[in-house]
């Protein structure tokens, strides 16, 4: 049985842990609201761009002369998985879920006889993926030096990917990240980003009237493709930051509750042994008095 002093010490240490987890939970809740607002604000641009891309893509035919980003390299042997993770921990199983989804996808591609490489965004995915595929890391992108990864980071990632693509390092790129469903659920999502899959042709805003293009459709499309890629990466960065805060909030809520339970248990134990000590003392005094 631990001594009273030891028990007291343990209770105090659990209490300070609880304070930390509680603070982190509240910080995550505040940041989550901000991240959600940012994700919301990014939606109009993405929607408009997708609808423009859709109506453009439905008007031109994909041929040899089409931009490489749309037509592909003509082969699908080498795949690149762009895995977006968080930079910080304390967010429950979020990162390991993303890594699990990426590894499953990679194994599936390898089983089909394809070659797979990884491009890792965020710190937390590096170690586990390196452990699984030590020789397949094609590149890293560090987002930890900025407070909040934004559009500029998405631009840099896109530029790096396009350079690799044009250098012929891979044929198909997939993006793996977590979509934010709620504070309790973040789904690992995987989608193809390169070559750019043509978005569904939405009914165009012009209502079927003849639209004039300046310069022509293909030139506009060629300009919009990299922009569309950036937007998708930006979306992934926003989703991951909302997911991180959501997961962190839930994980810290659990931790705070666990700490509370532990404190209760320890306090009961502490009181019992205190009472036991008092009882023994009393028995000793009474026995001593009777002996006189």
């Amino acid at each position: 049985m631990a001594s009273l002093k030891e028990l007291k010490g343990r209770i105090n240490s659990v209490k300070s842990t609880q304070k930390i987890t509680k603070a982190k939970q509240m910080v995550a809740a505040a940041k989550l609201r901000k991240a959600q607002a940012a994700a919301e604000a990014a939606r109009p641009y993405a929607e408009r761009l997708a609808s423009v891309m859709g109506s453009l893509a439905s008007r031109i035919t994909v041929s040899e002369s089409s931009p490489k980003l749309l037509a592909g390299t003509g082969s699908d042997q080498r795949h690149l998985l762009v895995v977006v993770n968080t930079d910080k921990g304390l967010c429950g199983g979020l990162n390991s879920n993303i890594v699990k989804a990426a590894v499953a996808k990679a194994k599936k591609l390898i089983a089909e006889g394809k070659k797979v490489e990884f491009f890792l965004v965020g710190k937390k995915g590096r170690a586990p993926i390196r452990r699984n595929f030590p020789d397949a890391i094609a590149g890293n992108f560090d987002t930890s030096d900025v407070r909040q990864p934004g559009y500029e980071e998405a631009e840099k990632i896109a530029a790096e990917l396009v350079t690799m693509y044009e250098a012929g390092k891979f044929d198909v790129a997939h993006l793996v990240y977590a979509t934010f469903k709620s504070a309790l659920a973040q789904d690992p999502t995987e989608q193809q980003i390169m070559p750019v899959p043509t978005p569904e042709a939405a009914p165009s805003a012009s209502g079927g009237a003849v639209v004039e293009y300046e310069p022509d459709e293909e030139a506009i499309l060629a300009e919009l493709l990299p922009r569309y890629l950036k937007t998708q990466l930006f979306g992934a960065l926003l989703e991951i930051s909302a997911s991180e805060q959501g997961a962190s909030m839930t994980a810290m809520d659990n931790a705070t509750r666990n700490a509370g339970e532990l404190i209760q248990k320890l306090t009961i134990q502490y009181n019992r042994s205190r009472q036991a000590a008092i009882t023994t003392e009393l028995v000793e005094i009474i026995a001593g008095a009777e002996a006189l």
Binding site: A38, A41, A42, P44, Y45, A46, R48, L49, V52, L56, G150, Y151, A154, E155, S204, A205, S206, G207, A209, V210, V211, E212, Y213, E214, P215, A219, I220, E223, L224, R227, K230, T231, F234
Partner: protein, 85 residues
């Protein structure tokens, strides 16, 4: 008699209001858009988008980089990667 004008960046919806006319620096030359313009799509040079709130008034200039303009029945939408001022 107003043109609905929206200026959108990846980060947010910068502007959404009814104006008189907008002059856009298109890739192949500036063009003004009034209400009832025919459907039109164009890429934009980096430069100033001039927003005329009233006929004959002073334009408000907004610098955009990496832009794209679309005119449809619901007005003019400018998608820009960066907006200054």
């Amino acid at each position: 008699m107003a043109l609905h004008f929206e200026l959108v960046t990846p980060a947010k919806l910068v502007l959404s209001e009814d104006v008189h006319m907008v002059v856009v620096p298109g890739e192949e030359g500036e063009f003004g858009v009034l209400e009832g313009h025919a459907p039109f799509m164009s890429t934009i040079r980096d430069g100033a988008v001039q927003v005329y709130r009233t006929a004959g008034g002073q334009p408000e200039e907004i610098m955009v980089r990496g832009g794209f303009a679309e005119v449809g029945t619901n007005g003019l939408t400018v998608l820009a990667e960066h907006v200054e001022g």
